[in-house]
Point group: C2
Chain length 312, copies 2
């Protein structure tokens, strides 16, 4: 049930700082109406922390933010307990999971090599590998892993999931907690990084873990650059300790123009586009619509609700 | 039940012309034993038509060939009705389907562009597209399509299958017969070619069909080069009639070094490696093992059985 049918009128939504066309349409379709901040019950804020309305009027009952990483809003002390706050946690997982699969398949099928070395059939024919029948470890098994597992399963690959709790992840062959990470490297064919960047995960991929991986392993990073010790990675790739690395994130970004990673034939680098900025609101829009329906129905089961008191 | 348990001894298999290690192991695992042609009941022939044993002794009850395309064996009149013949029809479908998915994802996620243009974030961020929510037409819906459909479904894409009969293909949103091909182009986002090369399918992709496709469409060819009119394709790519083409096969192969396709930024060419020659017997081996088990159990339901009298 939408606001239009429950309270006799559409829910007034302020869409700021820009009148994004995708979200605008989603709000209208979900039974909302667009208004300015003064007349709104809901704020959909598609901007960064700079410029966020302060103080936020008390009549704003719910704020929808645009990203999953809202550290800057928390740091600025903007989140209060006067209203519902939602971020975009999980909303972009399908997109990032697709990019991770794309990177892994590009490497295994040697399409990166084919793009650079025209019809080098002799060499490429012997280096093409299949995902079918392999085991993929996903380190940091949250929303991206939940989206990636069915994709990998459809390609005939099994998954070892690694998360903080060790609690079983749906569809994974096995789930391990982070403290058992050492067991993972030699048991999987490929590794996908999908963990947040924290002190604990910094250089999680290092000389020791790279040495423990199989020589045919591909390393995929769609998380954050600092998870990987890039000097160690470069040495491992040159020495053939692993087969290749496909990185959507680096540390720093972009890598320096003279970074040797650019010239290694078994490295694929995409410019942090697993969740493209330009497509963000297009992806976000249906989720905002769904959350608006849930808000209209009482707001008890809003998606990606943030606890202002929880650490991130 | 295997030969070992039914008749008191393993089934004697001749593996020719080479003693391939993958197939050898599969034969032994399935309860067979390796022997020379004179002592064999089964011949697994991993070679081409040249050198095939002629005449084949009558005590060979079953011949397993290595490829799905066995035109040369049929043309040479080698297939007779004295025994069972099996080819590899469908055995490589998973591999080819994976390559088709890999090509489509490489193009949509612009990984080919990222490999050539280092961290060109501004341009790549706006051109990355997602497979999620799209519709893919698979032209020639046999084994490759059956393997590709679940992979596409896991990525959130719907499939329109096109085959000779129009008989429903499992998992496809809709199946059309070839005579309704004209309806397909404007209704799908992307096109995967998986049809055999015949007089009928020659230049199935031509100026007219390319003009009918959507401007964001990617064309994937894992079938045969002659299905595509490459001159028309080149013009369509330059004019922006479609977004890109990823070709594992061309006409001729390889394309000439001065073929303009090599230089178009929205073209990906892999050197006919969707089913790599070097990995053929590794992929074939478990199927040979399974067929040996079925042969031992009476041979009534052998996989990829060939009717020597049928045309191909």
């Amino acid at each position: 049930m939408t606001a239009g049918t429950t309270s006799g009128g559409p829910i007034p939504v302020a869409l700021l700082p820009d009148n994004d066309p995708y979200i605008s349409e989603a709000v209208l379709t979900a039974g909302g109406e667009l208004t300015d901040l003064d007349g709104a019950r809901v704020l959909v804020w598609t901007g960064d922390v700079a410029g966020f309305p302060e103080p936020l009027p008390d009549h704003i009952e719910w704020v929808q933010l645009r990203l999953a990483g809202i550290e800057s809003f928390l740091d600025a002390g903007l989140l209060d307990e006067k209203r519902i706050w939602t971020n975009a946690s999980g909303f972009y997982a399908e997109n990032v999971a697709e990019h991770a699969l794309a990177l892994l398949l590009t490497g295994l099928r040697q399409i990166n090599t084919a793009v650079l070395r025209h019809w080098d059939k002799e060499s490429i024919d012997t280096s093409v590998r299949s995902l079918h029948g392999s085991t993929v470890a996903i380190i940091g098994a949250g929303g991206i892993a939940r989206s990636l597992i069915p994709r990998l399963a459809a390609c005939g690959a099994a998954v070892i999931a690694v998360n903080r709790s060790g609690r079983d992840v749906d569809g994974a062959m096995e789930t391990l907690s982070f403290d058992r990470l050492d067991e993972v490297w030699s048991r999987c064919d490929h590794v996908v990084l999908a963990a947040p960047s924290t002190d604990e995960t910094r250089h999680l991929i290092n000389a020791q873990t790279l040495a423990a991986m199989r020589s045919h392993a591909w390393l995929i990073n769609v998380a954050r650059g600092p998870l990987v010790d890039e000097d160690a990675l470069r040495r491992a790739l040159i020495d053939g300790e692993i087969a290749g690395a496909a990185l959507d994130v680096t540390d720093p970004e972009p890598p320096a123009a003279d970074n040797p990673l650019w010239d290694l034939p078994n490295v694929i680098i995409t410019p942090h586009v697993a969740n493209p900025s330009s497509g963000l609101t297009r992806t976000l829009a249906p989720w905002v619509g769904e959350n608006l329906r849930r808000f209209a129905a009482g707001g008890d089961d809003m998606l990606a609700r943030v606890d202002p008191n929880a650490s991130y």
